[in-house]
């Protein structure tokens, strides 16, 4: 008997799924290399000769607004995910490691936020921000995305598993304040879980379309999603703009795919194990 039998059918099904998932990504990779004329004449999977020209054209489009969108996405996703991770970690630690009146009530109310559809929030958030004169600012996109109930839940689960009570007890006997215990004992132990929370929040904010689409009017503040949408809405009927849109789409997914491939071991959906296994 062979050491490890291989099922042709299961492997075939899985590889078929992989090909389906890679199809649009490889298509955009190949299409972005095609000069305007080549897009309709070359075969779908034949690379063209126009990649550099396409990138140059995109750089020139409205004085390089595309790179502005890229930078904005980094600011929204990076800043938002960082703040979100800190708020979630501190809340999760408090909920996991302290017994206090109202703990379950606070946890349940915060977690209940998961069930609130974002639609009920985005429109009134816009109206309230505009009353304060803050719609169409970076804050309008950044602030509403900091609170993320599911991340608080994950942080609570992770804190209970990763922060030993005995360590906190020992710190208290040595006279450390609760704030110091949080900063010097709990947070360092929670770092692997916080990286996971950060990554999921980063992707969620980077991919968000509805909130910035509603909040922003000035295209200098757009993230990539809204920017590419406006480029598409302007260019869908003009095949001469297709190269620009396709090249923009390709460049826009490179940062996330890089993040995703380099941080493989942190992409987990279950943090109850405490420590991450490599």
């Amino acid at each position: 008997m062979s050491r490890r039998p291989v099922g042709a059918l299961p492997t075939g099904l899985l590889v078929l799924g992989a090909i389906y998932c890679l199809l649009p990504v490889s298509w955009v990779l190949i299409s972005a290399s095609k000069a305007p004329g080549e897009l309709f004449t070359l075969g779908t999977l034949t690379p063209g000769t126009g990649l550099l020209e396409n990138v140059r054209e995109l750089n020139a489009y409205r004085h390089g607004v595309f790179w502005r969108w890229m930078l904005n996405s980094v600011v929204y996703a990076g800043g938002g995910a960082l703040l979100s991770t800190l708020v979630s970690a501190v809340s999760g630690f408090a909920l996991a490691k302290y017994a206090f009146p109202g703990r379950n009530l606070i946890f349940n109310v915060l977690i209940g936020g998961i069930l609130v559809p974002s639609v009920v929030l985005a429109v009134p958030q816009y109206l309230l921000f505009s009353k304060l004169g803050m719609a169409d600012t970076y804050w309008a996109v950044l602030l509403p995305q900091i609170l993320h109930p599911y991340s608080i839940y994950l942080a609570r689960v992770y804190a209970s598993a990763a922060v030993p009570d005995s360590l906190l007890e020992a710190g208290r006997i040595d006279g450390a304040s609760e704030g110091r215990l949080l900063a010097r004992v709990a947070m360092p132990l929670m770092v692997p879980g916080m990286v996971t929370i950060f990554l999921f929040q980063f992707v969620a904010i980077w991919n968000n379309f509805l909130l910035p689409f509603i909040m922003l009017g000035d295209d200098g503040k757009f993230p990539l999603t809204v920017g590419l949408y406006t480029l598409l809405a302007a260019g869908a009927n003009q095949p001469s703009l297709y190269n620009l849109i396709i090249t923009g789409a390709l460049l826009s997914i490179i940062p996330l795919i890089a993040l995703f491939l380099t941080m493989q071991r942190y992409w987990r959906t279950d943090l109850s194990g405490g420590a991450l296994k490599g």
Binding site: R4, G7, P10, T11, L14, V15, G17, A18, I19, C21, L23, P24, V25, W27, F40, T44, V87, V90, S91, F93, A94, L95, K97, Y98, F100, L110, G113, L115, V116, P117, V119, V120, L121, V123, P124, Q125, Y126, L127, L128, L143, D165, E178, G179, L182, V203, N207, F209, I214, T225, Y229, L232, A236, I245, A249, I253, I257, F260, W267, R268, D270
Partner: protein, 296 residues
């Protein structure tokens, strides 16, 4: 020093640590929800010729807006489209996610690592970009698959569902796969000793143990699908078969920002929220009843 049974001292520390989350919850969840309810119960009334300041007043109209939203034919058409689309997405996406998770977990598969990364990859692609890529692949002048008009009125729902399935399968697969890996291997040994095939183990042992994770992913998927907005909005420039009120959320957007009727938009948002709560809790009730019925 006063200490609770948990060992931590009685102090204000946990409340202090929770303050940022509670403040954010109030500002960006509770207040907007309250404001939506406030708007949904009101409407502007025009007095006189409607000219000049003070001729437009906000008045309380009770449930009128909600009644109008429930009776709105355009919205109903949107619900029907989203129901068909959503059923398709949920069944195909979660079915594929479960299939791939079980295949990855089986001992008989080669190229598992490559496939896992490839299938999870679309998660890194924003919905706008996914719709854009598939939109180009659907265009008759660019599509590699001839003979089908992917953007025709009869096919557009399937084409849109494909975008959502492509984007969502990987994440759900990862959730299910992570849960599968957490099951101790010894659970399968007994079944193997009894001569059960890998297929039988998957169906009789693995799937029943995955039920809580399947329920969780289903509820999250229901909530996301009801609010579908990005895919139809991004595919609209490619096709004239997608109306500006294709999904209920697109109607909210149009009411709020194109026609400027905030009161209808607020009422419709509440209806969408109610439908998604009813469906998620309804689903939970059904599966819970089913689960209790089956166990002993």
């Amino acid at each position: 020093m006063a200490r609770t049974r948990g060992g931590a001292p009685r102090s204000s520390a946990p409340y202090l640590f929770l303050t940022p989350a509670i403040v954010l919850f109030l500002l960006f969840l509770a207040v907007p929800i309250g404001y939506t309810v406030h708007l949904a119960l009101r409407r502007t009334r025009v007095s006189g010729l409607g000219l000049g300041k003070g001729s437009r007043r906000e008045v309380f109209v009770g449930l009128d807006n909600l009644r109008a939203a429930v009776a709105d034919g355009e919205l109903w058409a949107g619900w029907l489209r989203v129901l068909g689309y959503g059923a398709l997405v949920l069944v195909v996406m979660l079915g594929l996610a479960l299939l791939f998770a079980l295949l990855l977990d089986s001992a008989y598969v080669r190229l598992a690592r490559f496939s896992r990364i490839a299938i999870f990859l679309p998660y890194a692609v924003p919905g706008v970009v996914a719709s854009l890529l598939w939109g180009f692949l659907y265009l008759p002048s660019l599509t590699p698959i001839g003979g089908i008009d992917f953007l025709s009125a009869s096919a557009v729902t399937y084409s849109m569902a494909n975008v959502a399935v492509w984007g969502g399968t990987g994440f759900n697969m990862l959730v299910l796969y992570t849960n599968l890996r957490a099951i101790p291997r010894s659970y399968y040994e007994a079944a193997r000793m009894d001569g059960a095939s890998e297929l039988a183990i998957a169906l009789r042992v693995k799937i029943p143990m995955l039920v809580p994770a399947i329920i969780l992913t289903t509820v999250f998927s229901i909530i996301a699908t009801i609010q579908v907005f990005t895919e139809p909005t991004t595919l609209r420039p490619f096709s004239n078969t997608i109306s500006s009120t294709w999904s209920p959320l697109m109607k909210v957007y149009r009411d709020a920002f194109v026609t400027g009727d905030l009161y209808s938009a607020a009422a419709t948002s509440l209806v969408i929220a109610a439908v998604s709560l009813v469906l998620s809790f309804g689903f939970l009730r059904v599966v819970r009843g089913r689960a209790f019925g089956e166990s002993r």
